[in-house]
Amino acid sequence: MKREKVIQSLISIAAVIILLVILNKVLTPFQARIFNLGGIYIILAISMNLINGFVGLFSLGHAGFMAVGAYTSALLTMSREAKEMNFFLEPIVPWLLDVQLPFPIAIIIGGLMAALAAALIGAPVLRLNDDYLAIATLGFSEIIRVIFTNTQSLTNGALGLKGLPYIGVTDSPKEAIWWIWGLVIITIVFMVLLINSTYGRAFKAIREDEIAAEAMGINLFKHKMMAFIIGSFFAGIGGALLGHYMNTIDPLLFRYLLTFNIILIVVLGGIGSITSSVISAIVVTIAQELLRVLDGKMQIGSLIINGVPGTRMVVFSALLMLVILFYQRGLMGTNEFSWSWFKKLPFKTKKAKIS
């Protein structure tokens, strides 16, 4: 049974890699960029789903952790010239000036810094519950943003950082596919292994009933911290990727709106399912591009609507409300993709479900 599962997982990964090769050939550079953005959102959605969906902590601090990851990775990869050009109001702190690390290492350090921030903030905040936790984490993420706006010699303040190195060696969205989607695969595999371990079960127990979970010997604080730190690590990685993807970051990018974008993906997909986050992240990213029509000038019959930027977001807001009112479980609920689906198909003989 175990062996069968390992083989099935390897087949899945191989299938994804083949798909990536094909997409790499087929997609135009613009489409590849959208596809990459979808990948980044997958990482962000899964990391949020671990905290909010699997452990059931109502945390709204994602943008803060992304900011930490993005700034760390940006400052560690930019060249001396780029930094000198950016920091014209006030010179950058000297010890950062000459630091330039390869992109993969910088991204991991970005994730680690976000994890560190989570460890520091988690210690006081994770003693809170529900709405209080949401408010505290939201506040934290705003504090990070305000700090980054005001530490001129470290983050260049409100001017932000421009000219971040691209993802990969060449400036090509097609090369970036491999970097980003490689990280997507690693994130998914890690999360699936984590969720299906004894720790994953403990996380779900906390989500279902904290009092019972503690009575069963689960150290609530320790496990919440664990999930919070792991989730923030991946949020930091996602934030770092987003920064390199956009080539420019500034504190305004990391407002709470960014957190809500990710919540949108997580809730539409289904809280507590990795598969749903993956599907939802791709669908939402592509839909955001397709619905750009709505932002432009439109003519319906004799009615002419002048384009208002942001109209397309109304669609998502409405969709989110509909989901919350009528379909709270989201696209998939807590279900996951599994090979046993195929076994349930009529042309196969019925076989015991793999637990």
Binding site: E214, A215, M216, G217
Partner: protein, 253 residues
């Protein structure tokens, strides 16, 4: 030496003294009942023993160790497991998962080995699975292992809660109204079952119960609480003839 004793255990909520100077002595392998009218402070006493509430004064000593004020999960690790008056299962999860979760505390693998699935982790996982299945067999739920636990009928949910508590390898099992909502036949089976698990797993059992047939049938000693004060203790027949107990339940003429 007593397995558990409480010494002048008292808790006050504002001006209300919910439990006052409660002394319990529970010996190895006993089945002890804790009874009393509604609001007498029975569940509150349980919550103090299991660390949900910190007593205002007094101590709880388990196996010679003072556990007053310790956290719930630490107390569970020492060997006190409980069930809840209003069933608290992990609702969305399967019957088997509910029992597996209770094994987490003693699993003994770190996060990394759990994620990369080292051979020692997989071996423990298998052992835990087998232990959980055995517990489910013991409570007669093994054929329902993949069901979502909230879809089970009430009596089976209570059994599952007991199986889950047993999975933490307790020495003292605390049952909060295990027979609530059961018909006489089910109550009878429950009594048998409680005796069985006591002998099989070498347990000591402390239970709150309102079904007098159950309490008088299996408890070796009974404590009676009224308005947070212990008004009587003794064997079932002593309790049945105790004037104060009769007054607490039926009122004074």
């Amino acid at each position: 030496m007593a397995l558990l004793n409480t010494d002048k255990l008292t808790i006050k909520f504002g001006g209300l003294t919910a439990v006052s100077a409660l002394d319990l002595v529970i010996n190895q392998n006993e089945i002890i009942g804790l009874i009393g009218p509604n609001g007498a402070g029975k569940t509150t006493s349980f919550n103090m023993i299991t660390g949900v509430y910190t007593p205002t004064s007094g101590t709880v000593v388990f196996e010679g160790k003072d556990i007053t004020g310790m956290k719930t999960h630490e107390i569970t690790k020492l060997g006190i497991a409980r069930t809840f008056q209003n069933i608290r299962l992990f609702g969305q999860l399967s019957v088997l998962e509910n029992v597996l979760i209770a094994n987490h505390m003693r699993f003994g693998s770190n996060l990394l080995s759990a994620v990369i699935k080292t051979p020692s982790y997989l071996k423990k996982e298998k052992a835990v699975y087998e232990k959980s299945m055995e517990l489910l067999r013991a409570v007669g739920l093994d054929d329902l292992k993949d069901e979502v636990c909230t879809s089970l009928p009430y009596g089976k949910q209570r059994r599952l809660e007991i199986a889950r508590a047993l999975a933490t390898d307790p020495k003292l099992l605390i049952l909060d109204e295990p027979a609530a909502g059961m018909n006489p036949q089910e109550s009878l089976e429950l009594m048998e079952f409680i005796r069985e698990i006591r002998d099989k797993y070498n347990l000591t059992i402390l239970m709150i119960e309102h079904h007098m047939a159950v309490v008088m049938g299996i408890c070796e000693r009974i404590y009676v609480l009224d308005y947070g004060v212990k008004i009587a203790d003794g064997t079932p027949s002593e309790i049945q003839n105790n004037q104060k107990v009769i007054e607490a339940y039926l009122g004074v003429e």
